[in-house]
Subunit: 317 residues, 2 copies
Amino acid sequence: MYYIGIDLGGTNIAAGLVDDSGKIICDKSIPTGAERNYTEIVKDMAELSKEIIVKSGVSIEDVKAVGIGSPGSIDNKNGICTYSNNINMENANISGEFKKYLDLPVNLENDANAAAYGEYTINGNDVESFVFVTLGTGVGGGVVLDGEIYRGFNGVGAEIGHTVVDMDGEQCTCGRKGCWEAYASVTALIRQTKKAMAENPDSKMHEIAEKEGKVSGRTAFDAAKCGDKAAETVVNKYFEYVAEGITNMVNIFQPNKIIIGGSISKEGDYLLKPIREYVEKNDYNRHMEKVQIEIATLFGDAGIIGAALAAKRKICG
Amino acid sequence: MYYIGIDLGGTNIAAGLVDDSGKIICDKSIPTGAERNYTEIVKDMAELSKEIIVKSGVSIEDVKAVGIGSPGSIDNKNGICTYSNNINMENANISGEFKKYLDLPVNLENDANAAAYGEYTINGNDVESFVFVTLGTGVGGGVVLDGEIYRGFNGVGAEIGHTVVDMDGEQCTCGRKGCWEAYASVTALIRQTKKAMAENPDSKMHEIAEKEGKVSGRTAFDAAKCGDKAAETVVNKYFEYVAEGITNMVNIFQPNKIIIGGSISKEGDYLLKPIREYVEKNDYNRHMEKVQIEIATLFGDAGIIGAALAAKRKICG
């Protein structure tokens, strides 16, 4: 059987036809046009889904459900996005609108939860407890317990990036000061890199940034790998920021697995090794089996796969 | 039917006979003698249990299970305390030892988890997700999801006091710096009070501490209620410390209910009001139903009741 997975983002709508094993058979991405009314965006999602089904050659009868991962606060039971500032939505009946154009059962999830579920299914299958952390523009994530996405009673749980790790620290976009996101996101890393560059005019980071045309999340990493001391300081401190929050998640959840995703996770072992060492040294569990910490493998596909497979679980059991 | 609940502490063993509704029918407390071998402590727990059953007049046939809440890392499946520094235990087969003296099914839980389950059953019944926070010597707690104690895959989850809220901040007993416990525990409050007293020789806190013979967790609260400015500053900052961690728990779990227990919770509304206001203003959820935050009601009995009812659930279904 097959399932449509849709990753609704502020810039693009990515949709794919996914099989039972979580493999994407056929996919396509179109611009979101986030400034439009949500009903038009949903119509485009439905048209894109139809297009993918036709293109894949799979019979419509074999497509059993549609999963949508959307930014914002999601009422999963009713398929409604109650609020999103990313795409202008308030009490947007996404599932209801979608069905006007394509009559298939729809399951709506928060986008980070959908991505977490994708990583869980592919990289964490069968574990009781699973935490997914994304180090991207923000720090997001999701928690899967006993195979179910943990949403909290109101649907907006697992906002693990919005946990204060440094009281009265850096301003966070959420209004609080010192959230983990304000230290461990790519946005934060760029801020930290720029600060170090201003303080170290001779650092290789300047050369790298000039070549790339901007300071990015890679600038300090690339310079550190060339032996630049100022960049190494940035990167080592950034590792600590990430590890501090991961250790918090370990002490709270003691999950079988924590998977780190998002653009920074492409650093692979270079990121993973110091994080593991920090957690090993600092977590509260000194006598029991330790949490496994791994790097994500699905990257951009996690949203599509997770949305599709969450719909499969919810609708087909 | 009836269940024995035992709260094993570093100082005392408190045991009670508990009915199906969570009411304590008969209870008694004896010194732990924590320096002894655990087998002797367990023998005392069993003898105490028998004594309580006899004293209550309940027939032994009507006592269906024994629940024990123990400090340390607990292997719930096997009834073993794998480690505790509070009472000197390593791979202590508490359930097995207990059964040598009293042949009843035994369920062993971490003490904070048992207390959380007690509060859940009495004050949070029927909610999907429940977080219990104790503000005592440390900051402990427990999480109950879908009626089950959340333990993590290795049994040592829900150590919510050991989440860093202030990187490179106050030294915590766990080895990390800046844990919530190092700011929001009674121990931390006493440290904060002493610091303010040293800086404010005219504060009413000195008079109150002298009368009481020591600086306690109540010193600053009592002085603040008399209008002492230095004490008000201590108390207001302490409220913030508590609220910062509660807001983190709200953003992670979005539970139906958070119950605050431990000795400080006896301050009631005086504590609850500013905490609620802080969370209301700062949590990430701006558009969905809000988490209920309440004060615990069981206090010292939570451990007995929770251990008994967790045993009931585990063993009798």
